[in-house]
């Protein structure tokens, strides 16, 4: 075919709707995901505040909400967990920043399938609306927690929130699964097929590696969650008995027979454990990127980092049973799951030591994004250390249903991943909006958030060891727990302060878009491809050029080089390595 290929930008859409609402541009879609997650995170945070208030002042009547009954508390708990895990921790780091920066960092003009990308965002959006709708239907939000254990989740008459609210919850999860699968398909195809000339796999920034491996995890895990959700919907609405054994509710024998509640747990946690890594891996990628950039040193052990990400992703699929030690399990299976879980400590430790090795002897620049990256490492270590405790069945059995577990997963999956999101926000803000975020406000935000989150979640470990059970709406009248009230009160006050300082972040975010210090194309003197293009990047990312990559992603302080950083597109003068 004698065709003449002209490299030129496809026309950018002009109308507001095509440009900002139903946009095909991965950058706009990334921002849409980011702002959806922002709405979700403030919603989820508000719910957690209500729970903390209720724990300390169980009889308090709150404006707008009124009295919090035990079932209201459980509804808040379910919605807080579901919103945070799906619409914040899965949405912002992977779909938000991944959408915006994965194509640019590999030198592509867009995602492989732009229409699919748009569909994926709007499907996620619908999923969020469906979930929020569960608050407003008859009976309110479901009571079964974000894990939705059967038979509670499978029986519509098991509680006030288990009617339409639970159906909406399952529908929302199923919609989210489909959206995530579309997203994962796009990420994987883009990474494999659209890399610029010279962008070999081992020259990809660690952020791209993290997003790529996360997409693979999502591709394998969300299909299983979808299958679990389908079975649950059939059980609830069409009378099948996949999950429900012979069961009596309120003195009434249900029509179900012979189902296995454990089946739900297996399917759910087969998804649920990789989901933990879906939330944290992008944060690891961002931490690697930032620690190298702001230490002015190549990342310590790039290949080891890549293999560690792969190792964590691979092993993440073989440990789901450690969530089920309490549910009854053959001791042999428990032993295998326990051993496998502790083995994940090895690649995690490789990553931690490599971050410390990168910091060691570096010319560290402590800008706000770097502070959050270091904060990520801190939280990852403190949250991670309680992992090997819970990985052992003998220790997990007394600790499992206590605040110990709440403290563990909030530090490592919740706050660490959120710190990854903050680090990425402060780091890429100049590229996305052309201005830097305010440093002073950023520092205030960082130090108060770091101290505040530790003040909230560290005491939970002690509460757990003291035997305080989780998910209970009231404990102040329980004899052996009354001594724990002062500590819980302290945590609630810490939550007030930590939440207040998030509004400083919110103000900084929107104020800096208009009034922040103007930033050049490469304000951090970084090396990856997004810093070679204009700010904000043009519609096709590189303004008609296609970048050619000559260097690895982290060539800082190369001996003999003119500057202390070598951009990936700089001419290949130094001998290739």
């Amino acid at each position: 075919m004698a065709s003449t290929h002209v490299v030129h930008a496809h026309a950018a859409p002009q109308g507001f709707i095509r440009k900002y609402i139903f946009s095909l541009d991965h950058k706009i879609i990334g921002l849409q995901y980011y702002f959806l997650a922002l709405i979700a995170v403030f919603t989820g945070m508000f719910l957690s505040l209500l729970m903390r208030i209720h724990l300390i002042w169980p009889t308090a009547t709150l404006p707008l909400i009124g009295e919090i009954k035990p079932e209201t508390y459980l509804g808040l708990l379910t919605m807080h967990g579901t919103i945070m895990v799906f619409f914040v921790l899965t949405t912002a780091p992977q779909s938000g920043f991944g959408n915006y920066f994965l194509p640019i960092q590999i030198g592509a003009p867009d995602m492989a399938f732009p229409v699919l990308n748009m569909l994926s965002f709007w499907t996620t959006f619908v999923g969020f609306l469906v979930l929020i709708a569960a608050f407003f239907v008859n009976g309110g939000a479901p009571l079964h927690g974000w894990t939705g254990y059967a038979p509670l989740s499978a029986l519509p008459n098991a509680g006030p929130g288990q009617q339409l609210g639970a159906d909406l919850w399952i529908a929302s999860i199923a919609i989210f699964c489909i959206a995530s699968l579309m997203g994962a398909l796009n990420f994987i195809t883009t990474t494999l097929d659209l890399r610029a000339k010279g962008m070999t796999l081992m020259r990809m920034p660690l952020t791209v590696w993290a997003w790529f491996i996360t997409a693979i995890l999502g591709l394998l895990a969300f299909g299983v969650l979808l299958s679990a959700g389908i079975l649950l919907l059939l059980d609830r609405n069409l009378g099948t008995s996949f999950y429900v054994p012979l069961v009596v509710v309120n003195g009434q024998v249900m029509g179900h027979k012979g189902g296995s509640p454990l089946l739900w747990q297996h399917l759910f946690w087969f998804f649920g454990h990789p989901e933990v890594y879906i939330a944290i891996l992008p944060g690891m990628g961002v931490a690697s990127q930032l620690i190298s950039t702001f230490s002015r040193k190549p990342i310590f052990g790039y290949r080891a980092m890549v293999y560690a990400i792969m190792g964590i992703g691979f092993m993440g699929f073989m440990v789901w049973g450690h969530h089920m030690f309490m549910s009854g399990m053959s001791p042999y299976s428990a032993f295998a799951f326990s051993l496998m879980t502790m083995a994940i400590g090895v690649p995690s430790a490789i990553k931690t030591f490599n971050w410390l090795g990168t910091l060691w002897g570096g010319k560290i620049r402590l800008y706000t994004p770097m502070l959050f990256a270091i904060g990520f490492v801190s939280l990852f270590v403190s949250g991670g250390l309680s992992g090997p405790f819970l990985a052992q069945p003998v220790l997990d059995i007394p600790l499992h249903d206590t605040y110990f577990v709440v403290g563990h997963f909030h530090l490592i999956m919740g706050v660490a991943a959120i710190f990854g999101i903050f680090a990425a926000t402060y780091y890429w803000f100049p590229k996305m909006f052309g201005r830097k975020m305010n440093e002073t406000l950023g520092r205030i935000h960082f130090f108060v958030t770091l101290a505040g989150t530790y003040a909230i979640f560290m005491p939970m470990h002690y509460l757990g060891m003291a035997g305080q059970t989780r998910r209970y709406s009231q404990f102040t009248e329980v004899a052996y727990q009354t001594k724990l009230v002062p500590l819980q009160t302290f945590m609630t006050y810490a939550a007030f302060v930590t939440i207040a300082v998030q509004f400083v972040f919110l103000f900084n975010l929107f104020w800096s878009m208009k009034k922040g210090e103007k930033a050049g194309d490469n304000p951090w003197e970084a090396t990856t491809l997004e810093w070679t293009t204009a700010t904000p990047p043009p519609h096709d990312n590189f303004g008609g050029r296609t970048p050619v990559v000559n260097h690895g992603p982290y060539e800082y302080s190369v001996p003999g080089a003119a500057r202390d950083y070598t951009m990936q597109t700089d001419p290949a003068t130094a001998p290739a390595h």
Partner: protein
């Protein structure tokens, strides 16, 4: 199989594909600007399809594991208060299902003919556009149409099989085994309907006079998806017949 080789620099513009809509397909709305490199687009679409069928496989892996586990699971009997095995094997209407299988396999063959035919057409398109060159009228048997008819025939046959099961008293909620029969066959049927929609879309692109190279991409990946559906059905049938 012939294909088009272009040696021009990659533009990366207008990439994208028309995937079958099951589990999220999508086109690319941006085709216009740069001239599209069809070889590249075909490769990308095939890669996208290979990635896209992975969650479908995971869905069936998940159902299969649940099926096998449930089979061996003892349940509490409320009369005797003892654990019993209550798995009731479902006798499938296997003659009918075998007939359906044959229909689906034949449709896979006709789909393959359609795929090869349009690949040849796409390869010859540049030659045909040279003035004064005539390749003669090639026979153009409506392979796509035949595939759609056979696909719908298979779905009708599945419907008949469900009616047959229902007439024997096996409904969705009758027993764990019948639940799984409906679940597995139903999920497969929904995915096959996605394939039929993709085929109808491919036929529509022909009517809309899209370039033959673009139509070839649609037909090509729909064909691979269709073959996957045939294999998946053989797997589901074998699982239900031999592991009951």
């Amino acid at each position: 199989m012939s294909s088009i080789v272009t040696r021009d620099p990659r533009t990366f513009h207008g990439g994208g594909s028309e995937l079958p809509p099951t589990d999220g397909g999508g086109g690319d709305g941006r085709g216009g600007g740069g001239s599209p490199d069809y070889g590249q687009r075909l490769r990308r679409a095939r890669l996208g399809l290979a990635v896209g069928i992975t969650p479908v496989i995971m869905l069936f892996v998940s159902f299969t594991s649940a099926y096998i586990i449930r089979q061996g699971l003892p349940t509490l009997d409320e009369q005797t208060n003892k654990y019993i095995h209550d798995w009731l094997p479902v006798n499938l209407p296997w003659v009918l299902l075998l007939l359906n299988t044959i229909v689906l396999v034949i449709s896979s063959v006709t789909m393959e003919f359609a795929r090869r035919h349009i690949a040849r057409e796409a390869a010859l398109a540049p030659v045909r556009s040279i003035p004064g060159i005539s390749l003669g009228d090639e026979e153009s048997f409506p392979w796509l149409g035949l595939t759609v008819v056979l696909g719908l025939g298979f779905l009708f046959g599945q419907w008949m099989a469900w009616k047959e099961l229902a007439s024997r008293g096996f409904f969705l909620a009758t027993s764990p085994s019948s639940s799984f029969v409906y679940l597995l066959t139903g999920t497969h049927a929904i995915h096959l309907i996605g394939g039929v929609v993709a085929l109808l879309y491919a036929a529509a692109t022909a009517l809309l006079r899209k370039p033959v190279e673009a139509r070839r991409i649609v037909v090509d990946i729909t064909a691979w998806y269709w073959h996957f559906m045939a294999l998946l059905w053989i797997y589901v049938f074998a699982l239900l017949e031999f592991a009951r």
